[in-house]
C-alpha cells in the first residue's frame, strides 16, 4: 500500500473550483491528471475526494469557465481534456483575490498569542 500522509486536510467548501481552475492555468489536462496534480502540489496534504472532482468539472463546464474536448492522452487512450476559458480566467482572478484576502485575514487572526501587543 502507498504510504499515508500523517493527516490530510479536508477541502473547504467552494475551494475545489478554485483549485481546478488554477491547475488548468498552465495548459489543458484530463480529470485524473487534475486530481493527481492537486494532491501532489499540495504535498499530499489536501485530500481531494475524487468523487467530487467530476461533478465539479461538469459544473465548471456548465458555467462556461472551462471547455472540454476529447483528445488522445499521453498513453494513446481517448481522454477528456479540460481547458480554461477567458471567462474562467476572470473567475479565477476574482476568486483568487477573494481567497488571498480571506487567507490574510485568517492569518492575522490566528497569529500565535505571543506576537500580540508587540
Amino acid at each position: 500500500m502507498a504510504h499515508k500522509p500523517p493527516s490530510r486536510v479536508e477541502l473547504l467548501r467552494g475551494t475545489l473550483d478554485l483549485l481546478i481552475l488554477r491547475t488548468l492555468l498552465p495548459g489543458p489536462s484530463h480529470g485524473h491528471a487534475i486530481a493527481k496534480h492537486i494532491q501532489r502540489t499540495s504535498d499530499d496534504l489536501l485530500k481531494v475526494e475524487t468523487g467530487s472532482l467530476y461533478p465539479a468539472l461538469y459544473r465548471l463546464e456548465a458555467n462556461g469557465w472551462v471547455a472540454a474536448s476529447w483528445e488522445l492522452s499521453e498513453k494513446g487512450k481517448r481522454a477528456r481534456y479540460y481547458r480554461i476559458t477567458p471567462k474562467g480566467r476572470k473567475q479565477l482572478a476574482s476568486e483568487q483575490s477573494k481567497w488571498d484576502a480571506f487567507a490574510r485575514a485568517m492569518g492575522l487572526l490566528l497569529k500565535p498569542l505571543g506576537e500580540e501587543g508587540r
Partner: protein, 912 residues
C-alpha cells in the same frame, strides 16, 4: 451561452453526456489502477483500490447528471412509473385501498360541498369589514322607526345606517298570485350594502321621502328568472303587492340573497310604503309606525312598535366599541325624552360575517357532526391502508435493503414510497369525487320536503370543492404513507440482505405500529357506531310516538288572507264560507281552521294565570320559529281554533264540552285545555268552571269549558305540553290554516280543494297544500337522514375495521407459519393454535372497544340535542353496538385463525 441554455442543450444530448461521463470515469479508473500497479499492487488489487478511491460511482454519476437533468422531475416520473407498475402487480390491494379511500374522501367531499354551499357562503358586498348588523339589546333586537331616525341622524360613526324588516307579501302579476318573502327597506339600504343593480336601478333615498308616494319595488335576480322568465322588459313592469300597484325599477345582483343569509328576499320596497306592505291583523288601517308616540296620528298610546333591524356601514377607522358606546347613549337619550325613568338602552353591533341566524348555527353543529364522522371514516381507511402497506413493505424489505446498499439515499426511497401512496390516494380521490358527485346529484333529484329542515341547504361542486378534494387526497396519501415509508427506509441491512425474516421480533411484541393502528381503528369505529345506534334508536322512538290525531285522513292548507287585508267581518265570513264549501266537496268529512299549524315547528306562548292561584308570568311571547314552545309552568302554549276543530283532527274530548254557537263574540270568554294542563295546573282535578287569564291580573278571564286529550303541538318529538285552545269566534285571527278530514286518501282531494279556494277568493295565494302524513314525514326527515347517514358511515367504519383486523392477523400468521408448524409438530392441539390467534386478535379489539366506548360516553353527551326520547347513555345502544363490533371482529379473527390451524407442520418447517 447562458448556463440555462447550456443545460437545455445538455439535456437534449443527455444520452451522449452519460456516455461521456462513463468513458471519462473508466479512463480515470484505468489510469489510477495503472499507477497503483506501478506502485507494486497486483492487478486486481490495484483496480479495487482505484474503485475505492473514487468512491460511490452511482452517487457520483447521479450528482453529475443533475447538471443536465431536472432530477426531481425525472425522479418523479420514474417513481410514478414504478408506482403504477406496483399497483398493477397487486391489483387486489390497489382496488381495496382505492375503494376505501374513495369512500372516505367522497364522504368528506360531499360534506364539504354542503358546508361550502351553505356555511362558507358570504354576502357579496363591497368593503365587508365595515358592515355591521345593528341590534337593540332589548325588545327582540328591533328598533322603532323614530328611534332608528334618531340613531341615523345623531351618530357620527356611520357612513350610512339603514333599517329593514322582513315581510311576507302577496305578489300578483300575469293574473297569478304568489306569496313571497320580501323586505321593507329604507332608501339608503342598497347604498349602505354597496351593491349594484343587475338590471335597472336599485332603490335610492329619493324613493323614500313621502308616505305612500313611492310605489316602486326592486326584485331579486332569482324572482326575475323564475317568476318572470328573465324577460328583458322587466324594468318598468307593473305588479301588485298586497293588491296595490307597484312598478319594478330594478333587479338585484344574482349572488345577493338578501340582507341575511338563510332567507332569500325576493322583493324590496321603500319604507314609506310600509303601511300597505305590512300584513294587517284585522284588515283595518295599520298603525302608523313611522311617527313617534307624541305625533301618533292613530291616537294609540303606549310605545311606538319596534320592528326594524339595523344595518350600518361604519366610517373607516371606527371600532365596534366606539360605535356601540355612541349608539347606546343616543338610544338612551332618545327613549328618555318620553320617560326619564327608562333603563339605559344597549345597542349590539355584529360584524356581517358573524351575524348568522340561529338556523345557520344549528346547521353548523350538524355539519360539524357529519364532518367529524366523515373524517373519522377517512382516518380508519388511512389506518387500514397504512397497515396493509406496512405488511407489504415488510415483504419488500429486501428490495429496499438492496437499494440502500447500492447507494440510494433514504430521502430518495421515502420519496418513492410516498409517491406510491399519494398516487393511490389520488386515484381514491378521483373516484371519491365521483361518489360525492352522485350524492350531490341524488340530493338535487330528491330534495328534502319543504319545511323539513330549518334552513334551505344546498350541495354543489365548484372549484373550491375540487380544490378541497385535491388537497385532501394529497394529505391523505402522506398521512397513511408516512409511517410505512419511515419504517421501510430504515431496515436492518444485514439480516434483510441475508433474507432472514424478522419473524423473531414480530412475535410476542406487546406494542407495534400495526397493533396500535388496529386498536385505533376499532376505537374509531366504536365511536362512529355509537351515534349511529343512538340516531336509529331515536328515530324508532320518534316513529312509535302517537301524535294524538288522525294522521292518515288529514290535509292542511294555509289560508294567507292577512295579505288580502280583509276586515275582521270579511275575514270571519271568509273562514265560515271556506269551511262550509269545503265540507260539501266529495270525499271530505269535516273541515276546520287553526291559528298554529299542527306540528309545524312553530307555536305561540302566553303567560298563564289561574284564578285564585299566585304567581304568573307577565311575559307574552308571540313566537314563530322552530322550538317556540314553552314548558315553563307559568306559561302556556295557545292555539285559536274554529268550530269542529277537535272532531276534524280526531282529538277526543275527555271532560266538558266542545266550543259551540253560544261561544260567540261578546259572549262569556271560554277556553279548552289539554289533559296535561289539567294535571299540571289543576292537580289532575276537573278544571271545568275554573277561570284563567293570559293577560295577567287585568284579564280578560276565560272560563274552562272542556278538556281534550293531549296531541302533538309543535313537533312530533316534544313531551306532552300544556296547551289552551281559544275559539276563533271570540279571538279573530288572520292567517289561519284549514284542516280537512277526508274519507278517501287525503292526497286525492288536493286538486278539488285548490279549485274551490280559488273560486272563493281568486287573489288568495294557495300554495303548500300538504297531507298530515307528509308533514310528519317532513318533521322526521332530519332524524331519518341523520340515522341513515350515520348508519352508512358506521357500517363503513365497521367494514374497514374488520378488513384491518383480518389483514393484520393474516399477515402475522403468514410470518409465524414456522412457529405454528413447530407448535403443531410438538403436539399442540389445533384448537390451541386456533385460540392463540383469535386471542391475539381479540385482545386488540377489546382494548379498542374500551377506548371507543369511553370516548363514546363522553362524546355522546354532545348529541343530546339531536336525540328524541332516549338518553345519550342509552344502555341498549351501547350494548348492541359493542356486540356488533365484537361479532364482526371475531369473524375477522376466525378466518386467519382457521388458516393457522390448518398449517401443515412439514411444509411449515421446510419453508425457508
Amino acid at each position: 451561452m447562458t448556463p440555462l441554455f447550456r443545460k437545455l442543450v445538455w439535456w437534449m444530448r443527455r444520452r451522449r453526456k452519460e456516455d461521456e461521463l462513463r468513458e471519462e470515469l473508466e479512463f480515470h479508473l484505468a489510469n489510477e489502477a495503472d499507477e497503483r500497479e506501478v506502485d507494486g499492487l497486483a492487478h486486481d488489487q490495484a483496480r479495487w483500490a482505484a474503485h475505492r478511491d473514487l468512491g460511490n460511482v452511482t452517487l457520483l454519476r447521479e450528482d453529475t447528471r443533475r447538471l443536465w437533468t431536472w432530477t426531481p422531475v425525472e425522479q418523479l416520473a420514474q417513481d410514478l412509473r414504478y408506482a403504477v407498475w406496483m399497483m398493477f402487480k397487486h391489483p387486489t390491494f390497489t382496488a381495496l385501498a382505492a375503494l376505501s379511500l374513495a369512500l372516505g374522501i367522497g364522504a368528506n367531499t360531499a360534506i364539504f360541498s354542503l358546508v361550502n354551499a351553505t356555511l362558507l357562503q358570504r354576502l357579496p358586498v363591497d368593503d365587508r369589514e365595515r358592515l355591521v348588523y345593528v341590534h337593540r339589546a332589548r325588545v327582540g333586537g328591533v328598533f322603532s322607526y323614530p328611534l332608528y331616525q334618531a340613531l341615523r341622524d345623531g351618530s357620527h360613526v356611520f357612513e350610512g345606517l339603514a333599517a329593514w324588516a322582513g315581510v311576507t307579501l302577496s305578489l300578483n302579476a300575469d293574473n297569478t298570485t304568489d306569496l313571497v318573502d320580501g323586505a321593507i327597506v329604507t332608501g339608503n339600504f342598497f347604498d349602505v350594502l354597496g351593491i349594484r343593480a343587475s338590471e335597472g336601478r336599485l332603490l335610492a333615498p329619493s324613493d323614500d321621502v313621502t308616505v305612500r308616494a313611492h310605489p316602486v319595488a326592486v326584485i331579486s335576480h332569482d324572482l326575475w328568472q323564475t317568476r318572470f322568465g328573465g324577460r328583458a322588459d322587466i324594468v318598468g313592469r307593473d305588479i301588485r303587492l298586497n293588491g296595490h300597484a307597484f312598478t319594478i325599477v330594478g333587479v338585484t345582483p344574482a349572488a345577493f340573497p338578501g340582507p341575511q343569509l338563510g332567507t332569500a328576499r325576493q322583493v324590496y320596497a321603500p319604507m314609506m310604503m310600509q303601511a300597505i306592505l305590512r300584513p294587517s291583523g284585522t284588515g283595518e288601517q295599520n298603525p302608523d309606525l313611522l311617527a313617534d308616540r307624541r305625533r301618533r296620528t292613530d291616537g294609540a298610546r303606549g310605545p311606538t312598535p319596534s320592528w326594524l333591524f339595523g344595518l350600518g356601514r361604519l366610517n373607516p377607522g371606527i371600532t365596534l366599541d366606539q360605535a356601540r358606546a355612541e349608539l347606546g347613549t343616543l338610544a338612551t337619550n332618545y327613549e328618555r325624552t318620553f320617560d326619564p325613568s327608562d333603563p339605559p338602552e344597549l345597542v349590539a353591533l355584529v360584524p356581517l360575517d358573524q351575524g348568522d341566524p340561529r338556523e345557520r348555527q344549528q346547521l353548523q353543529s350538524v355539519a360539524l357532526l357529519l364532518g367529524g364522522v366523515a373524517a373519522a371514516v377517512l382516518l380508519i381507511a388511512c389506518a387500514n391502508i397504512a397497515n396493509l402497506l406496512l405488511a407489504r413493505t415488510a415483504s419488500r424489505r429486501r428490495e429496499f435493503s438492496v437499494r440502500l446498499a447500492v447507494g440510494a439515499s433514504r430521502a430518495r426511497l421515502m420519496r418513492q414510497l410516498l409517491t406510491e401512496s399519494v398516487l393511490l390516494s389520488t386515484i381514491g380521490g378521483v373516484i371519491g369525487l365521483g361518489f360525492a358527485w352522485v350524492v350531490v346529484l341524488s340530493f338535487q333529484a330528491a330534495p328534502p320536503p319543504p319545511g323539513a329542515l330549518p334552513l334551505a341547504i344546498e350541495f354543489s361542486i365548484d372549484q373550491r370543492v375540487l380544490l378541497f378534494s385535491v388537497v385532501l387526497s394529497f394529505v391523505t396519501g402522506i398521512v397513511f404513507g408516512i409511517v410505512p415509508a419511515l419504517k421501510a427506509s430504515r431496515p436492518n441491512l444485514v439480516p434483510a440482505l441475508k433474507d432472514v425474516s424478522a419473524e423473531i421480533d414480530e412475535r410476542r411484541r406487546w406494542f407495534s405500529t400495526q397493533k396500535t393502528l388496529v386498536v385505533a381503528e376499532v376505537a374509531l369505529s366504536m365511536l362512529l357506531l355509537i351515534p349511529a345506534g343512538l340516531f336509529v334508536r331515536s328515530l324508532q322512538a320518534a316513529r312509535s310516538i302517537d301524535p294524538g290525531i288522525d294522521v292518515e285522513k288529514l290535509v292542511a292548507v294555509p289560508l294567507n288572507i292577512n295579505v288580502l287585508r280583509y276586515t275582521t267581518a270579511k275575514g270571519r265570513e271568509f273562514y265560515r264560507q271556506v269551511v262550509e264549501r269545503v265540507e260539501r266537496l266529495p270525499g271530505v268529512e269535516a273541515a276546520s281552521v287553526a291559528r298554529v299549524p299542527v306540528m309545524s315547528g312553530t307555536g305561540r306562548v302566553s303567560g298563564l294565570m289561574v284564578e285564585g292561584r299566585q304567581g304568573y308570568s307577565e311575559e307574552f311571547v308571540f313566537g314563530a320559529g322552530p322550538g317556540v314552545v314553552s314548558a315553563d309552568p307559568t306559561q302556556i302554549n295557545t292555539n285559536v281554533v274554529g268550530p269542529g276543530f277537535f272532531a276534524t283532527l280526531g282529538i277526543p274530548l275527555i271532560i266538558g264540552r266542545d266550543f259551540s254557537e253560544q261561544d260567540a263574540q261578546g259572549g262569556p270568554r271560554v277556553v279548552i285545555v289539554t289533559e296535561t294542563t289539567m294535571k299540571r295546573d289543576f292537580s289532575g282535578k276537573n278544571p271545568v268552571g275554573q277561570r284563567v287569564s293570559f293577560g295577567g291580573q287585568e284579564g280578560p278571564w276565560r272560563e274552562i269549558v272542556g278538556v281534550v286529550r293531549d296531541s302533538k303541538y309543535a313537533a312530533l318529538g316534544e313531551a306532552a305540553l300544556a296547551v289552551a285552545y281559544l275559539p276563533l269566534a271570540q279571538n279573530h285571527q288572520p292567517g289561519m290554516t284549514l284542516y280537512v278530514r277526508t274519507s278517501i286518501p287525503p292526497a286525492s282531494v288536493i286538486g278539488s280543494l285548490r279549485r274551490e279556494l280559488q273560486a272563493i277568493e281568486p287573489n288568495l295565494p294557495v300554495a303548500d297544500i300538504r297531507t298530515m302524513t307528509s308533514t310528519i314525514g317532513a318533521s322526521l326527515y332530519a332524524s331519518r337522514m341523520g340515522a341513515w347517514l350515520l348508519s352508512v358511515f358506521g357500517g363503513l367504519a365497521l367494514l374497514l375495521a374488520a378488513i384491518g383486523i383480518y389483514g393484520v392477523l393474516s399477515f402475522s400468521i403468514s410470518r409465524r407459519t414456522r412457529e405454528m408448524g413447530i407448535r403443531l409438530a410438538l403436539g399442540a392441539d389445533t384448537r390451541n393454535v386456533f385460540w392463540l390467534v383469535v386471542r391475539d386478535g381479540m385482545m386488540l379489539v377489546v382494548v379498542g372497544i374500551i377506548i371507543g366506548v369511553t370516548g363514546g360516553l363522553i362524546g355522546a353527551q354532545w348529541l343530546s340535542s339531536f336525540l328524541y326520547g332516549i338518553p345519550t347513555t342509552d344502555v341498549a345502544t351501547f350494548a348492541a353496538m359493542t356486540g356488533a363490533l365484537a361479532a364482526v371482529a371475531l369473524a375477522a379473527c376466525v378466518i386467519p385463525a382457521r388458516r393457522a390451524m390448518r398449517v401443515n407442520p412439514i411444509t411449515a418447517l421446510r419453508y425457508e
